[in-house]
């Protein structure tokens, strides 16, 4: 079975946490996590930890900038960074 793309993994996780679920797929990268998907700040924290767990990286241990995460696209960028960190050398 082919592996999920980063975008697909993030979409799956985002939908676990979204209170408002838009109809279109894939999710538009510009969707606001708070305003469009109604993911409040504590949920976003939980979601970010889950992403780290899926990528095999402890988000607390890495220096990823998390303060500016506002959109689905921002999360995909964070995930890509974590993915790079999680790969064995």
């Amino acid at each position: 079975m082919p592996q999920d793309t980063t975008e697909a993994r993030i979409e799956r996780l985002v939908l676990e946490y979204a209170q408002t679920v838009p109809a279109g797929r894939p999710l538009d990268a510009r969707l606001s996590l708070r305003d469009d998907l109604a993911i409040e700040s504590l949920s976003l924290v939980s979601l970010t930890l889950r992403i780290g767990d899926e990528m095999g990286v402890d988000v607390m241990e890495v220096g990823v900038e998390l303060g500016a995460v506002k959109t689905v696209g921002d999360l995909v960028r964070v995930a890509r960074t974590l993915e790079g960190l999680g790969k064995p050398a």
Partner: protein, 548 residues
Amino acid sequence: VAHPTDIRAAVGRKQAITFGAPARPLFGFYHPPKDGPWRGVGVVLCNPLGTDQTRSERTYRHLAERLSATGFACLRFDLFGTGDSGGDEHAPGLVRAWVDDLGLASQELRARSGARAIALVGLRLGGTLAYVHAAERADVDSLVLWSPCVTGAAFVAESTRLHKLYVRMEPQLAAAKPPADDGEEALGTFLPRAMIADLSRLDLLQAAGRPARRTLVIDGGNFPGRDALVTRLRELDAAPELRSHPGHKFLITVSHRAVVPDDVIASIVEWLGQAYPKETPAHEPSANHGSAPTPPHGERPVVFGASHPLFGILTPAAAAHARPGRPVVILSNAGCVNRAGPHRTYVKMARRWAALGFDVLRVDLSGIGDSPVAPGTQENVPYPPSALDDLSDAIQAAGTLAGSASSPRRVIIAGLCSGGDYAFQLGARAPNLAGALLLNPRTFCVLDLAAVESADGGAPPTTPVQDVPRALRSMAERGVETLLVVSRNDPGVAYVDVHAADAMRALAGTPGFRRVDVESADHTFTPVSQQQLVSDLLTEHLVARHGG
């Protein structure tokens, strides 16, 4: 005002009770089985901890109501040091005490209902504690483990990591001071080092005894250790059944947006019902109503309300410091969080103020916490249509609870978020008001919530923003001592600051009005140091303005 409290509503009957050892009073609600033949079984619900507790409170109430309606007796209660029970997180040996609390709750439920068997239900850490208790006692017949933490260490790691990441993602919190005591923060709850050590010794896979004759394990999604736990239960001959109910978001959702996981509740009720047929003769209330220790701080659950029952808890002023005529403080819900307040701040402040000589009434508005929903309306709404009437009833009840009908006491109304909005509304209009304490009001019941929460703060306001500073001034001028406490950039006041800047600035120096901006805080004052700071601020204000 009714006391003791018996609340009857369309969903059934319940009674607020205090039980446990004299020095360790526990608060809870007893839900008797619905009239008619019943199942002869009592179900004790074991709370989780911290934000899990806050966010599952409504789900637990629904579960208790459903169990009662299908012929079970049920007890839901707050563990010692949490919710409305006595004590706080600094009490020594809390984890051991929590496990023992379940024994006291089972004993209380047997005494009240005459139940011949006990079942335990626990969510997250509540499941962990329920398992440990059941394995030690070997007298629990059925055990429901709902996404339990397989180890206490896992709970500590997850909740403290969430807190640390939250602080990193909310830059304004970065400067919050660490707690004065040795321990860790977990999103508004303080975990002392000794408690962490005790929690870290809990490991369900190492528990030796069979916890129950039959067990139900509910996987709510993202459940580390699930398969190992089920395997272990099978080894122990505990007849585990695994059911998956993924997709529920109530534990990660702010209370007023959360959806009760009805299918999980139905699954638990159905699984318990399978084992216990409804064949016990009609339930006769036991003459032994269990133990009745002195409630924490002499608190009294009260039911009041002119048109429908409303629930609250009165913390009476310490006799040594009480003074006749001193106003009663009323705390109104923050959003849909029950009367304990976010991070249990209302409980702590009420007890602190009572020790200084203030009577304090913490109330649940209609359809929030344990106040039944008003006829024809929906539950779990932060701005219920009857809110102002509810609070008028609370003012009347508070005025006569510790005073007399002919000489009602004056009132100070206080609250966070929507509670602050109602303090503003009542401060502007209610008679007999001595003061108003507004913590991070969201809309003042004047502004458009969507506009306030929109990032586009520059858009022209669609509501009369100028009414806010005008009413604040008017409150002060008519003798309502007003304290506005605001986390820096909190959306409600920030919106007014932008759109009515001159009028807000002009409030400075108005006699009877004071505004304090709190740095390094979020909307609910999650950092423990900021909770303490706010409590200190309000306490100093109360003593200075109303302590005479």
